[in-house]
């Protein structure tokens, strides 16, 4: 969950090509897929683990599979989707490295979106208050959070370089506004369009 008011959906809809096939890993109640189906006529498919979210997707007429993405995507052939999306899911899976590798195998392109742990408001809370940050993009208390990994925009870019993952496009924003300079400090959320 993040409070960027749907900016991420608009950017993802911008990146995703008209009529393409999309697999959304951790699709939640399917809002993003429904947006893409409506605006870009995509062939949408979602994977989600929560009961209620899966039921919402079925009621919305989406194709959804109740499944744990940490177990991989073995039943999908290589490059069987134009886009695989990991929006606000990447920091919540147990094995992000493995899940992203699988996403890059199955998708021609992969879109990853996550909250930047080194956003200045987070840094302020850590340095001044000496506490794990609780902010709009990281709204959870340490003892009750779905986020298992805390990474920054800089961490992720370094990781992509090491794994030889090509970053085709990036977009950073904070409070619904685009951030162009010093994204690792000023960006609350990062979105990446990747390929391998």
């Amino acid at each position: 969950m993040n409070n960027n008011g749907g900016s991420d959906r608009a950017i993802i809809a911008d990146w995703v090509g008209e009529g393409s096939s999309v697999l959304d890993l951790g699709c939640g109640d399917g809002v993003l897929l429904l947006t893409l189906a409506r605006d870009k006529s995509v062939r949408a498919q979602g994977i989600e683990i929560s009961d209620e979210a899966v039921h919402s997707c079925v009621a919305a007429g989406l194709s959804v599979f109740q499944q744990d993405i940490d177990t991989g995507l073995a039943e999908y052939a290589d490059k069987s989707f134009d886009f695989v999306i990991l929006n606000q899911t990447f920091q919540q899976v147990k094995k992000p490295d493995y899940v992203l590798r699988e996403a890059l195998r199955v998708g021609k392109k992969v879109i990853v979106g996550f909250p930047n742990f080194c956003y200045f408001a987070d840094r302020v809370q850590i340095f001044l208050r000496g506490k794990v940050p609780v902010t709009a993009s990281l709204p959870y208390q340490w003892f009750d959070t779905p986020n298992l990994h805390f990474l920054s925009i800089a961490d992720f870019m370094e990781y992509c370089q090491k794994r030889e993952i090509k970053i085709e496009q990036t977009r950073f924003f904070a409070k619904n506004r685009r951030v162009r300079f010093l994204p690792n400090l000023r960006g609350e959320v990062g979105l990446f369009l990747l390929s391998k």
Binding site: D51, V54, H55, V58, A59, L62, E75
Partner: protein, 383 residues
């Protein structure tokens, strides 16, 4: 099934006979059978463009009486799902359920009279498959003037029939809901059925299947049903239902039914004998064991080209048809490019859950069918 005094409309079981001599039905194993009768019931009204029909498919011991009260006051086996305002809403949909070929509740089976001998078929009845059951259903759907079913819905053996519709008649369905089922029977599933069949055939009253008019092989069939019931429950549901509670009125015999679970199994076994034909049990369990929808196909090809939407459901505590088997169905759909969804529902009821844990199931099937109906698959039917 509880018995109540019929109030309001009593559901009537109808029958349809086809493949009259000399035009017989050619079965999957090559044998011929005819004439063939199917007993069926319908609930709700078929709309004018005949686009709101849902075929409900029953499991091993089911019959055509899926909903409402029959003339004896017996409630249908899936009454919790089918009816006005329910998941299969009879205010919107025309629901059809027929007794399977090989059954003993009004459809042609081993207890029926053979036209060539004038006596019950017994074990002269040809082996029937899930494919044959579905072929017979297709004749019924043709007879009812329905070109394309809005959905085919069933659990366990009913789910196999739904898969068979997907593979054999993809253009005749807008959607399918296979529940708690499998692409093919596993060795464990075959093993349990074989023990059941051996129990029937070991009963001296079975007499090679020619017991009609004499004493029925009731002991053997009851034991088969007891084994069945063990596999339909989960350890948790048995612990919850019976614990280690003992029965009152124990008989003065060392091996009397001391525990409630024993009494329950004996009761289920004995009541089954009164309503089911032992030979039908042999034929239908054999059809289950022979079922393999892949039948030489690659898993990614079996549903290729299917335009229908598919909703696959499984239940967490079902160890007879475990979730991994439903996930194999899902895999086949994904690899075939079928528009599918999969939900694993929470329940402690084991395999029985698809009949008992109907609240979530009802909501899911209801909302799924609504999206199918609104998708205009069937010539513009909407509500």
């Amino acid at each position: 099934m509880e018995e109540k005094k019929p109030t309001g409309n009593v559901v009537e079981t109808k029958s349809f006979t086809f493949a009259n001599l000399p035009v017989q039905l050619t079965l999957e194993m090559g044998e011929k059978l005819g004439p063939v009768t199917l007993a069926y019931e319908t609930y709700g009204e078929l709309n004018t463009d005949k686009s709101n029909a849902v075929l409900v498919l029953h499991a091993l011991s089911g019959d055509a009486h899926a909903a409402g009260l029959d003339k004896r006051g017996v409630t249908g086996w899936w009454n919790s799902l089918i009816g006005p305002g329910k998941g299969l809403d009879t205010n919107k949909y025309f629901v059809v359920c027929s007794n399977v070929l090989g059954g003993c509740k009004g459809s042609t089976g081993p207890a029926s009279t053979s036209p060539s001998t004038g006596k019950p078929f017994g074990t002269d009845f040809p082996l029937v498959t899930i494919g044959d059951m579905v072929l017979a259903q297709k004749y019924l759907i043709d007879h009812l003037g329905i070109d394309k079913l809005l959905s085919v819905v069933g659990g366990s053996m009913g789910g196999m029939q739904a898969l068979q519709w997907m593979a054999s008649y993809p253009d005749r369905i807008c959607s399918a809901v296979p529940i708690s089922t499998t692409l093919k029977h596993s060795p464990q599933q075959i093993a349990f059925n074989e023990v059941g069949r051996q129990a029937v055939m070991a009963d001296p009253a079975w007499k090679g299947g020619n017991y009609y008019g004499n004493c029925i092989p009731g002991r053997g069939l009851a034991v088969a049903r007891m084994i069945g019931h063990v596999t339909y429950m989960s350890e948790a549901s048995m612990a919850e239902k019976f614990g280690r509670r003992t029965r009152e009125n124990k008989e003065p015999f060392k091996f009397s039914a001391d525990f409630e679970v024993e009494g329950y199994l004996r009761y289920r076994g004995d009541s089954f004998v009164r309503r089911f034909d032992a030979n039908s049990y042999l034929y239908i369990t054999k059809a289950l064991d022979l079922f393999n929808i892949l039948n030489g196909h690659q898993i990614g090809d079996v549903f290729r080209g299917l335009k229908a939407k598919v909703l696959v459901l499984s239940f967490k505590s079902d160890w007879l048809y475990p979730s991994y088997q439903s996930q194999e169905i899902v895999k086949a759909c994904k690899l075939s490019g079928v528009d599918a969804s999969y939900c694993e529902l929470t329940s402690d009821y084991g395999h029985d859950a698809f009949l008992l844990e109907t609240e979530q199931e009802r909501q899911l099937i209801g909302s799924f069918l609504k999206t199918v109906a609104n998708s205009n698959c069937n010539g513009g039917y909407s509500h």
